[in-house]
C-alpha cells in the first residue's frame, strides 16, 4: 500500500468542497428540490433537516462503499434503498427519543429523506465505485451542499415571509411595520422557494461561467 493517499489529500478535500460550489447537488445537479421547497419556510427546520441529510448521506455512502464488492449487481438499487431507509428510520427514532420537539417540527419530512435523490444519486455515482473514506467525504460534502442552499433559501423565506430570523422578529425590532411595511405572505408558500432557488442558480451561474453549457 505504498500508493496510499493522505486522509486529507487535495483530492479528498475536493470531494468535500466541490458540492458546496461547482457541483452543488441543488443548484447544479438540480436534485433534492422537493424537500428544499417543503422545509424552508423557517430556518430552524431547515437546519435540522440539513444535519439529518448530512448524517444520512455520509453514512449511507460509507456503508455502501464498504459493501461495494459484495453487492449483487442486479439488486444493487434495492440494497441501496434498504440501507438508506434503515438509516432514516434510525435517525427518526433517535430524534424522537432525544430531541422530541424538533422531530415534531420535521414530522413527515424526516421520512421523506428516503426519497431524496441526492442520496441515491451519490450512492450510484460515487460510493459503488470508490473506497470508504472518499465516499464518506463525498457524502458529507453533498449533504452540506444541500444544507447550505436549504439554509440560504430558508433565511430569505423566513425574513421576507414572516419578518423574522430564527424566530427573532427583525421587522418589529427595527420598526419597519410602523411605517407600513408588510410581510410578503407569498414567500411562505412553496412556489416562492422554487423561485428563490432559481435566483440562487442564476447568481451561481453568472459568477461561475464554467457552469454555463455550450450552445
Amino acid at each position: 500500500m505504498s500508493d496510499r493517499e493522505h486522509l486529507f489529500s487535495r483530492k479528498n478535500l475536493d470531494l468535500l468542497k466541490n458540492p458546496l460550489g461547482p457541483s452543488n447537488p441543488i443548484t447544479v445537479q438540480v436534485l433534492g428540490i422537493c424537500s428544499a421547497l417543503a422545509v424552508t419556510a423557517q430556518i430552524k427546520p431547515a437546519v435540522v433537516m440539513s444535519i439529518s441529510v448530512v448524517i444520512v448521506t455520509a453514512l449511507a455512502n460509507l456503508i455502501i462503499s464498504l459493501l461495494r464488492n459484495t453487492i449483487p449487481n442486479r439488486i444493487r438499487i434495492i440494497v441501496q434503498l434498504v440501507v438508506i431507509a434503515s438509516l432514516v428510520i434510525l435517525v427518526d427514532q433517535v430524534l424522537k427519543a432525544f430531541v422530541y420537539d424538533v422531530s415534531k417540527q420535521l414530522s413527515v419530512f424526516v421520512g421523506l429523506i428516503i426519497t431524496n435523490c441526492i442520496i441515491m444519486g451519490r450512492l450510484e455515482a460515487f460510493a459503488l465505485a470508490n473506497k470508504p473514506w472518499p465516499s464518506f467525504l463525498d457524502g458529507l460534502g453533498n449533504g452540506a451542499g444541500y444544507g447550505l442552499i436549504l439554509i440560504i433559501v430558508a433565511f430569505f423565506r423566513e425574513l421576507l415571509g414572516s419578518g423574522s430570523v430564527l424566530g427573532y422578529n427583525v421587522v418589529e425590532k427595527i420598526g419597519l411595520d410602523k411605517i407600513g411595511y408588510e410581510n410578503n405572505g407569498l414567500m411562505v408558500l412553496s412556489p416562492m422557494a422554487l423561485i428563490t432557488v432559481g435566483i440562487i442558480i442564476w447568481i451561481h451561474r453568472s459568477r461561475d461561467r464554467s457552469l454555463i453549457e455550450d450552445k
Binding site: 419556510a41 423557517q42 449483487p72 440494497v79 434498504v82 434510525l90 427514532q93 427519543a97 422530541y100 414530522s107
Partner: protein, 238 residues
C-alpha cells in the same frame, strides 16, 4: 462464488433483510421508553398550558401532579364513565366512534386564588393534518380561562401560527353560551366577519382553512360536553 448468480443474490438479500430487521427492532425497542416518556411529558405540558402554566420539561410531571387534582371521563349525557383513565384516552380513536359512545376526558385543575378550572381536550382537522388542543373553563362552565392548540403539519408562518400566544391568549374571557344559555361556541373570525365580541377571536390572515378548522373543532368537541357543563353548573347552586 458467482456474484451475479441467483443463489448469491437470494442469500445476499435474505441476510441483509435479517440484519437490518434486527438492528431496527433493537433500536425501536430500546428507544421506546424514552419516546413514550417524551409523549407523556408533552401531553402534561399541553394540559397545563391550557391553564396558562408552562413548566419546563423536567418539572412538567411534578407540576402536573400538583395542579391537576382530579381527572375523569364523562359521556355525552354528562354521566361519569367508570374504569377509564382520562389521561390514556386517545381522542383520535374516540372521534371514530358515534358521539354517544365516546369517552370524554375532563381534567380538574386547581389554580392558586382562582379556584377550580375544568380542562377539556379538543381534536379536529386543519388544512394539512390534525389539530388538537386543550381548553379550560372557569367553574361557571361558560367563561374560557385559557386555551392551548397544536397541529401536525399546518403551513409554517400561516396556519401554524395557532400555536402562538398571540393567537391563543385572546380566548381568555370569551364565553361559550349566550345570555339565553344557548351554546354558540367561539367563532374564529376574519376582520370582515360579524360575530358578537364575547364569542369571537381574530383568525390568522393567510390561515383561513386552519382557523375555520379550529372553529369547527371547538364547536364539535365542546358541544359533546354540554350535558356535563349544565350538570356541573346546576350542582353548584344546589
Amino acid at each position: 462464488m458467482n456474484r451475479n448468480g441467483n443463489t448469491y443474490t437470494f442469500i445476499y438479500a435474505s441476510v441483509m433483510v435479517i440484519i437490518v430487521a434486527t438492528i431496527l427492532s433493537v433500536a425501536a425497542i430500546s428507544l421506546k421508553p424514552l419516546q413514550q416518556q417524551n409523549i407523556e411529558v408533552e401531553k402534561k405540558q399541553n394540559i397545563l398550558a391550557s391553564v396558562n402554566i408552562n413548566p419546563p420539561k423536567e418539572e412538567a410531571g411534578k407540576t402536573y401532579e400538583k395542579i391537576i387534582i382530579n381527572s375523569y371521563v364523562v359521556n355525552s349525557s354528562g354521566e361519569t364513565m367508570e374504569g377509564i383513565d382520562a389521561f390514556t384516552v386517545d381522542m383520535k380513536k374516540e372521534h371514530a366512534k358515534p358521539v354517544e359512545q365516546r369517552a370524554l376526558p375532563v381534567y380538574e385543575a386547581v389554580i392558586e386564588n382562582e379556584g377550580i378550572k375544568y380542562i377539556m381536550p379538543l381534536y379536529g382537522a386543519g388544512l394539512w393534518g390534525p389539530l388538537w388542543g386543550y381548553i379550560s373553563l372557569n367553574s361557571d362552565m361558560n367563561t374560557v380561562y385559557g386555551a392551548f392548540f397544536d397541529h401536525q403539519s399546518e403551513t409554517p408562518g400561516l396556519g401554524a401560527e395557532i400555536v402562538t400566544d398571540m393567537f391563543q391568549d385572546p380566548f381568555t374571557g370569551k364565553t361559550l353560551f349566550d345570555q339565553n344559555g344557548e351554546f354558540v361556541s367561539i367563532t374564529v373570525a376574519k376582520k370582515s366577519e360579524k360575530a358578537p365580541e364575547q364569542h369571537r377571536v381574530d383568525a390568522i390572515s393567510g390561515g383561513t382553512i386552519t382557523s375555520k378548522g379550529l372553529q369547527e373543532m371547538l364547536y364539535n368537541d365542546l358541544q359533546q360536553y354540554i350535558a356535563f357543563f349544565k350538570k356541573k353548573k346546576n350542582s353548584r347552586y344546589e
